[in-house]
Subunit: 141 residues, 2 copies
């Protein structure tokens, strides 16, 4: 179902095209986790929705191919990557904020997201990540 980076969209309606990239049950949850400062494979697996591991690996690859996320090594040997949002991915924040508001309004007993989620901007997310070195940066540890 997932399309390659420049796979053909069903239409050039911006909604339809966005759904070609994000219209499944998992992709936006990974984006949510990244916004909540989760960065590693295990972190995503720890989320309460219990994403299957093969789907997680596939979605991370797809999100990266589509430029929504990027990764960088947090250690050599064994080579391991941490994931973070690009500007393109961070710009989904308003979408997730609105979708969460809708869920809060219509899904009984749903949780209230943390305050930072409701008030943050996409720029905040990026600044935050930039401030977090790839595992020690200026002074290092």
């Amino acid at each position: 179902m997932k399309l390659p980076p420049h796979g053909s969209f069903r239409s050039l309606c911006p909604l339809a095209a966005s759904l070609d990239l994000l219209g499944d049950r998992w992709s936006l949850l990974i984006v949510r986790d990244l916004m909540a400062r989760k960065t590693r494979y295990k972190d995503f697996q720890g989320s309460p929705e219990r994403i299957p591991t093969n789907i997680l690996a596939q979605r991370l690859k797809l999100l990266e191919e589509n430029g929504l996320i990027a990764r960088r090594p947090y250690q050599q040997r064994p080579l391991r990557y941490e994931y973070f949002l690009t500007a393109k991915g961070a710009d989904l924040l308003p979408v997730l904020q609105q979708l969460a508001l809708w869920g809060q309004k219509y899904v009984p007993d749903s949780w209230t997201p943390p305050a930072w989620f409701a008030t943050a901007t996409a720029a905040d997310l990026l600044a935050r990540d930039a401030a977090t070195p790839p595992t020690g940066e200026p002074g290092d540890e």
Copy 2:
């Protein structure tokens, strides 16, 4: 994959729960069409994304079961229904607006939605539908 009206959600995160209802490639496009004043089966089929007829029928049923849309007959013999958004469905407007903005920003060559779409509110959509009789209303037959 689709859940019954009160099917169990993967989690009570408002985002995850919303995606349990709407996280597929077609549901939100039907909502989009309803916002664009499409009301009948054939109208939905006419959209450029070419939704398969069996999927359309199934999604309409699901959206209705979940209270996002409702239907009323627009003719007897043969009995035929037109569909419209409930308040719950119309409240997805901000979500679609944000998603469309994202698509416009990141999907090359994507269309610019009509002006009404960018400026409307959920209340506008409902008022508009209320003003459109079920096929003749005040004087009626």
